[in-house]
């Protein structure tokens, strides 16, 4: 979608700053997810602590971004797509902040897991991580470029992460049934998987907001109906 330039150049700059700021937060959260998962797979608790510490930065940026959006709403009183862009930006930054928190959750679990022997080699979790990071990345892309195709792709990938989560859950269940000593670790890993799955949900949330922003049509609850029919 070709952007039209606004008559006020400064307004244009402000919108661009919001875009850049969101990508920046996005990149930080992507790094947080990756580093949290790396701390798990490479048993590097130091990195996990760093992820937890770096989340403060994301929280701070989120608050700043929200304030900036509100200022634009108040001063510029945007209309049509600009209005939807700003309101969406506020929601997107909220989603990103939540994703950052999930990464922190994963890092916390990683620290606990690293204190104990490795339960099993991780196969599905790295796959899921890659998918989830790509989803976050793509959802932001779709937001920046007003691109509905990418948003649609994010929605489709979300289903795959759900399935992977399911698969990991079943696998861990067998571990727990075999040996009660590994229940603690298995539960922690399950937590990690669940957090990844919830990150994917947030990415999908962003994608839905993008669809609303571009078309003005609310698709959030349509897709949720479909997923609700499937067994949990």
């Amino acid at each position: 979608m070709e952007e039209k330039r606004h008559t006020s150049l400064h307004y244009e700059v402000e919108l661009q700053e919001i875009k850049n700021g969101l990508i920046y937060i996005g990149v930080l959260t992507e790094n947080a997810i990756q580093n949290a998962m790396k701390s798990l797979s490479e048993r590097d608790s130091e990195m996990a602590h760093k992820v937890i510490k770096d989340d403060d930065e994301i929280d701070k940026l989120d608050a700043e971004m929200e304030e900036r959006c509100i200022r634009i709403l108040a001063l510029r009183q945007p209309t049509a797509i600009d209005l939807r862009f700003i309101t969406t930006a506020i929601k997107v930054t909220g989603h990103l902040e939540r994703i950052g928190d999930m990464a922190v959750n994963i890092a916390e679990k990683a620290i606990q897991l690293n204190d104990e022997p490795k339960l099993k080699p991780y196969i599905d979790l790295p796959r899921m991580t890659d998918l989830v990071v790509e989803m976050v990345n793509n959802s932001l892309d779709s937001f920046i470029r007003y691109d509905l195709n990418i948003a649609e792709k994010v929605r489709q990938t979300e289903q795959i992460t759900d399935d992977l989560n399911e698969q990991i859950f079943r696998e861990l269940l067998t571990f727990m049934m075999e040996d009660s000593k590994c229940i603690h670790r298995a539960l922690l890993i399950m937590h990690v998987s669940k957090n990844l799955e919830r990150i994917a949900d947030h990415a999908k949330g962003i994608a839905d907001m993008v669809t609303y922003m571009v078309t003005g049509e609310n698709v959030r609850h349509q897709t949720r109906d479909i997923s609700a029919k499937e067994p949990a």
């Binding site: 875009k19 850049n20 920046y24 990149v27 990345n137």
Partner: protein, 581 residues
């Protein structure tokens, strides 16, 4: 242009001509009229005074003749204004003439004149009257009148000449204006066409004018300016093409941001590195294009101070590229603050640095391990563990074995450093692969027999000769075969086959050993790289074997290829160049 100049000149001439005629008319017309009228007046007065010499009766009798001679109308009026006689009308029918201006004037001053429009004839008439005096008393008046028709016709004649002259002057002015405007406009027009062509960017030479006035100087100046301009454009183009060539051919990536911090220019190197991953990044912001927090941070730092910023960023997840980035301001744009970012790919350098660090750490470690063992056993012997001869012998054996390993390690290191320094001398000759193999196999056979490993030598005799150094080929084969036997479990097989591919003889050594995972195959040949550290060292390796093979193969102009599957065995292919007769 030409038209304009012509009209300007012609109309200014025309205005001057018309003005001069108007002034001429204003001043001269009345003057001529006055002069001519006063001449007629004087003449009439003379007649009247002559008439006055005669008596009134005589005048009345000769009135007709007098009128004829004086070419005027003569009227005789008595003192009370009654017309006594008139040369043209019956006097009794005429009204009292005392109130006529000329008569009144004559009554007062002795003579009077007046010009009046005569309604009877339709032209101006000049009336002249004098008083007839008898002593001091006025007895009557003589009035003479003549039409001013002659005066009028003289004036008309003069004016006709005037108009003729005016037309002639006008035509002359037109001609002069034409010629003059053409001569003035032609060079200007030529210069205008010349500059227009220049403006449109057509190649122009110099402008030549045949005039010698100010336009010539102007043309000279234009020529000078054009020369100057063209040489400056040429210089600018030259500079630009130099810069562009430098930009496109250099291996560093270059990116220029415009005043709005959007990407304006990306050079070939950078788009080569990033085209797959990032697509077209022109017109995007740095954040949109690269999505790198470190880069953005560095850029924001730079924006605050506009002082050069250096940083190191890692891009990409699967195959990370490490880039050293320098951000600097582009000078020469005072209004818009452009930014140039130079990316230097240091991935390889970083890797090499890592390998070097690893190497030093490895060498120390590899040397210290046997030394620790030797020192430990020797100390034990010294402190009196020699009570038992058997133990002492065993300790000495172990020490010797470790010392030998140390020796092997140092030899290998020496070989490698010699190869890398290019100090190793090669004696290239034709070598039969089969002969070389037959010389080497017995060396590993003993070890193979211990593990019940069968070595199958399927190399045919008709294999072409290779160009190689006999001793080095033996060294290569020993290393590879030794590895094959070493990493194959009991009762396995080692197959040796030979073939030909392009201009190379290919010797493949396949084992049914433990195999190597895909990621680790790439790292084989790195010094001290061991797939399984503890195990390999147990087997007495130095960690340099394959590294030596790799380097020797390169020195031979061939190469080593390894394919492997974890748990299924490894296939090492050695490609030797065939000896040309």
């Amino acid at each position: 242009m030409k038209k304009n100049i012509f009209y300007k000149i012609f109309f200014s001439y025309l205005v001057i001509i018309c003005l001069s005629f108007f002034l001429l008319d204003l001043f001269v017309r009345d003057e001529i009229k006055n002069v001519l009228t006063s001449k007629v007046e004087t003449e009439l007065f003379s007649y009247a005074q002559l008439l006055d010499l005669n008596s009134s009766v005589k005048i009345a009798q000769q009135l007709k003749q007098i009128a004829k001679i004086s070419n005027s109308r003569v009227t005789l009026i008595d003192a009370r204004g009654k017309v006594l006689a008139d040369s043209e009308k019956e006097s009794s029918l005429m009204e009292n003439h005392l109130n006529r201006p000329e008569v009144q004037e004559a009554r007062l001053k002795g003579m009077g004149r007046s010009v009046r429009f005569s309604s009877t004839i339709g032209i101006d008439m000049l009336y002249v009257a004098i008083a007839i005096k008898d002593g001091r008393e006025t007895t009557g008046y003589i009035r003479l009148a003549r039409s001013l028709h002659d005066v009028q016709s003289v004036i008309e004649t003069v004016y006709q000449s005037f108009f003729l002259a005016m037309i002639i002057v006008g035509i002359t002015a037109l001609a002069i204006a034409l010629i003059f405007s053409y001569s003035l406009a032609a060079p200007i027009l030529a210069m205008e066409r010349f500059t227009e062509k220049l403006r449109q960017g057509h190649p122009v030479g110099t402008i030549l004018l045949e005039t010698a006035d100010e336009t010539k100087k102007l043309a000279d100046n234009i020529n000078y300016l054009v020369d100057e301009l063209q040489s400056q454009i040429r210089m600018a183009n030259e500079e630009k093409s130099k810069l562009m060539t430098a930009f496109t051919s250099m291996t560093e990536g270059i990116l220029i941001l415009n005043a709005e911090d959007k990407i304006e220019f990306v050079n070939q190197a950078l788009s080569n590195i990033f085209s797959e991953q990032y697509g077209d990044i022109n017109g995007k912001t740095l954040m949109e294009a690269f999505r790198n927090a470190d880069l953005q941070k560095a850029f924001l730092d730079f924006k605050q101070t506009r002082i050069n910023v250096f940083c190191e960023i890692t891009l990409g997840n699967i195959e990370p590229v490490i880039l050293s980035v320098s951000i600097s301001a582009v000078h020469g744009y005072p209004e818009e603050e452009k930014t140039m970012i130079v990316f230097h790919d240091v991935t390889r350098l970083k890797k090499l640095e890592q390998i070097r660090v690893d190497f030093v750490a490895n060498v120390t470690h590899e040397i210290r391990t046997p030394l620790t063992a030797i020192i430990g056993y020797l100390e034990t012997i010294k402190t009196g563990a020699t009570v038992n001869d058997n133990d002492a012998k065993r300790f000495i054996d172990i020490s010797l074995k470790q010392a030998q390993r140390l020796n092997r390690l140092l030899e290998d290191l020496l070989v490698i450093s010699k190869i890398e320094l290019g100090e190793l001398q090669f004696r290239f000759e034709e070598v039969s692969l089969r002969d070389a193999l037959e010389g080497v196999i017995p060396l590993v056979e003993a070890k193979a027999r211990l593990k019940k490993i069968n070595i199958h030598n399927d190399v045919q005799e008709n294999m072409p000769y290779i160009r190689a150094d006999r001793d080095r080929v033996a060294q290569i084969l020993v290393n590879v075969l030794d590895n094959a036997v070493k990493f194959t479990s009991e009762a396995g097989d080692v197959y040796i086959e030979a073939g030909q591919k392009d201009n190379n003889a290919v010797l493949t050594i396949t084992d049914t050993g433990i195999g190597i995972s895909k990621e680790e195959v790439q790292r084989l040949g790195e010094r001290f790289y061991r797939v399984d550290r503890s195990r390999s060292r147990d087997l007495g390796g130095t960690g340099l074997g394959l590294s030596i093979v790799k380097h020797l193969m390169i020195a031979h102009g061939g190469k080593m290829e390894i394919e492997s599957q974890l748990g299924h065995g490894t296939k090492v292919s050695l490609l030797f160049p065939i000896h040309k007769v």
